[in-house]
Symmetry: C2
Subunit: 529 residues, 2 copies
């Protein structure tokens, strides 16, 4: 058989050749402000490669992007990866300190930034000595300069230095992308994606029981491209020649609803929060989205009632999924033709799952029991960026750090983080189960259960909550709600509340900080029993 | 990213784990005579590997199969490929001489045979000195022995020597299969499939605009597994956990219609001839196939009127396709949600096409012009079995030998074989276009246009036909039907007819023999002008 490197420049080549007029639409606050066919996008992106190489950037160099989902950002992705450069996506919602740490760790030589993020960049740049070039993308308002790096405007750069570049032509194991994990459980860790891993992830995600994307679909990519490869959509859409709608910075309900209606979006991809915003907007305005067929959600468990409400109001099937940065990111997904009960679906061909006990021994039954979730596949991390050892067990599986169950039909449900488990009297307590029950109390805003050291039991659970504004939960009622639902010895010994729960950049509760604050006594406790 | 070899044993492992109860049904003359879940099939197949290895077969050895589509045959496929043996499929409709040539060329050490093909095997075996073992599959009637090879019964072998075997655990470029081309244009040539090429072919074929196969489908595999990997279906169905129906030897309309109805087949795969048989049967009996949604056809161009008739009578969408043994075999396919006009669809991601002129120069326009079709991809042959050079051009493309056009929407139509082109006065004549027009005459059964040597023009076209029984076509009317539709100088100088057109094993006209017979004057001419 022919040698044929699995490199992702082939996706855009294919789109340009077979779906050349199919559009990529860029939105801004709900308005379509730009549209381009795949053939023209391929041509611009390829010439942008030439421009980037003319700046002295070389295959293997790291280039950061700090940007929203736009045509320029997509052009930059393909321009970088096609030429063998590494595209390092950054989350603009992180702190300057976090971003600087990542840029320095990655030794990024250049950075492409959305124009409305230039203020953040100006704050950031002095802390990033490796940056030689900055490319300003999207609509540009005014010029500026930096002390340490040369500033280019995307379109002007393309015009002055754009030149056809040779794409691909390297080994499929060449690194294509770099993304740091959210760091909710410690220091952010970098994941290096290869062309092969992205290529196979894309083909895997296109299966009929996964995204089932086709050339007649119109895909709204409301998950940011900086967030775990935009769930693979920016690669999957051109691969099948689907029209792609990139919403820009604004993910509010009104903006998304307008774009979805105007562009006749059939398949919408993003975390459930953004669809709740769309729901609220539709409820308030009485709008409809007649073209919409499916909504892909992920990120966190979605209650079944909420899925039904979304399906009813949006007139579309909701597909649940689970993934993580380390998985490129797709893990499991519910098929389009099945009604999801809130579980996260099954793995498409190409991802192997197993559940083990705390010692890494495969559970005798892989169905109906909670276990530590391990995964294996061509798009799964083996070793974190700059790490000295692989993050794999003896069988080559990666430990997700998640606790999960698999039901009789094979559907996965994540039910906690293994690091959050509390060992009391030699037995495990799963905080997520307690949080799930307590969280249903209408007076409770956020809730976290952590372990405290205990002389007799080793650890004992402590419940910490942030009440809803103006509410004061009844502690006895809260603990009473747990009785009969969890073992008696799982019930927390102590209940505290705080004014504001510490959150990580992704919006998840930062349990590390909570544990540290609790241990050091510095936690601001406003009450307790 | 993790090392993760793309080996096809993973398909059956995945099916066993996630669709373990989903069935593989074997039919015989329309009756379901066996059914097994993927988990049990995986267990049997894996232990069959152990049994085969216990016979002294070693990774890399070639083992032939001479069999219909049955559970035993499928078990044998996975048993061979999972253990690193090479599965060499043979077409039972070839001659003993042809089969012996292939077995000897492949140096097959063993052969697995359907029990009802034992008479053919007994004829064949004395000509195949490399065969050490014969495994008799399917229902066994009586025993027999061979002088040169030891005979085993499939189930008895599994029972006496079956043992768990280690699957995979080798490089993805390991050879998995061998299939000889039909040899309509010369000596049959062997194509070696690798695990990687089969794995990627499977993922490619599962795209939503290709087979779009899902776990809720029930697939009837009416294309023989010995014919270009059964169009990839025996690998694709377990990959997504689709129920698979293997019809056995009998592909007549009554047998297939009964199986399709009884097993609620949703997706039926095979050449158009078999569906015409089903149509006739339904017309005669008034039956319906309510579960059927799609029929995938290929092999030769299908007139649009016939597609519409099939769609109406079967109540299903017809997907057209084009492929060849050298492509594993899928080339192009019409999407499920488009009404096919008879063209063969577009290439899914992962297959690159180009049209060139006779000198191999890429045509400036790839749309609307007839060109020589070249292809590139991870599942495309690079070098034939035992060939000393690659069959590729300077850009790494394989020459299909076909002439084709691509319309504005990207749909491919094959319009002749480049070897059949006739060069007259320095310009090309495409016999397929002439044959297409003449073939519409109701008095004409089969028709072929070949070139004869000509002193003045180099070559000139000769039309040879086999009239329909009892008919005698009017030569002047035939030639007249060409006027205005092809250039005047394309019109054949000579029209002959024969009692029986020479056919290759696949049923296609054997033009090589026709040319040789014509040149040697040995053609049996019953008339002419």
């Amino acid at each position: 058989m022919q040698p044929y490197a699995l490199t992702i420049d082939k996706f855009l080549d294919h789109a340009a050749k077979w779906s050349g007029e199919r559009e990529v639409v860029t939105g801004d606050a709900g308005e379509a402000i730009g549209r381009i066919g795949y053939a023209a996008l391929r041509e611009r992106s390829n010439r942008l490669s030439g421009a980037l190489l003319s700046l002295g950037l070389k295959a293997g160099d790291h280039v950061a992007t700090l940007a929203w989902n736009t045509q320029h950002h997509l052009e930059m992705h393909f321009a970088l990866m096609g030429a063998g450069l590494v595209c390092h996506t950054l989350n603009p919602r992180l702190t300057v300190a976090n971003l600087a740490m990542m840029i320095n760790d990655a030794e990024d030589r250049a950075l492409a930034v959305s124009s409305n993020l230039v203020p953040l960049l100006i704050e950031l740049a002095p802390h990033c000595p490796t940056l030689e070039h900055v490319i300003v993308m999207d609509d540009v308002h005014g010029e500026f300069s930096l002390r340490s790096a040369r500033v280019w405007m995307h379109d002007a750069l393309l015009e002055s230095r754009g030149a056809p570049a040779r794409w691909g032509d390297f080994d499929e194991n060449t690194v294509a992308g770099l993304c740091f994990t959210s760091g909710t459980t410690g220091k952010p860790k970098g994941v290096l994606y290869t062309h092969r891993s992205n290529y196979l992830h894309t083909l895997r995600s296109l299966q009929g029981d996964a995204t089932a994307l086709t050339g007649s679909d119109v895909v709204l990519v409301a998950v940011p491209m900086f967030h775990a490869n935009g769930w693979g959509m920016p690669l999957a859409a051109p691969t099948v020649g689907a029209k792609m709608v990139l919403p820009g910075r604004h993910l509010d309900g009104a903006s998304l609803a307008r774009l979805m209606r105007d562009e006749a979006v059939t398949f919408a991809v993003g975390v459930q929060t953004v669809w709740l915003g769309v729901l609220d907007h539709l409820d308030a305005t009485g709008g409809e989205l007649p073209a919409l067929k499916r909504v892909l959600i992920g990120g966190s468990k979605c209650p079944e009632a909420l899925i039904r409400r979304m399906e009813e109001r949006l007139g579309a099937r909701v597909q649940t999924s689970w993934g993580m940065t380390e998985l490129s990111p797709m893990g499991t997904i519910a098929p389009p033709d099945e009604s999801s009960t809130g579980a996260s679906g099954r793995p498409p061909m190409g991802l192997d799952l197993k559940l083990t006990d705390a010692d890494g021994v495969t559970l005798p039954s892989q169905r109906g029991t909670v276990g530590h979730l391990k995964v294996k596949g061509a798009s799964v991390v083996a070793r974190y960026f700059k790490a000295e050892t692989d993050a794999l067990d003896a069988d080559g599986y990666f430990n997700t750090g998640d606790l999960a169950t698999i039901d009789e039909d094979g559907n996965l449900t994540i039910c906690g983080r293994s690091k959050d488990l509390i060992k009391s009297g030699g037995e495990w307590i799963n905080p997520a189960e307690i949080e799930d029950i307590v969280g249903r109390n209408p007076a409770v805003g956020l809730v976290a259960v952590i372990g405290r050291q205990d002389e007799k039991w080793g650890e004992r659970p402590v419940l910490i909550m942030e009440p809803r504004r103006g509410q004061l939960p009844d502690v006895e009622a809260l603990l009473g709600s747990l009785r009969g639902k969890v073992a008696d010895w799982w019930i927390p010994d102590q209940v505290l509340w705080v004014e504001a729960m510490p959150l990580a950049a992704t919006g998840k509760i930062d349990k590390n900080r909570l544990r540290a604050d609790y241990a050091s006594g510095s936690i601001v406790v406003h009450g307790g029993n």
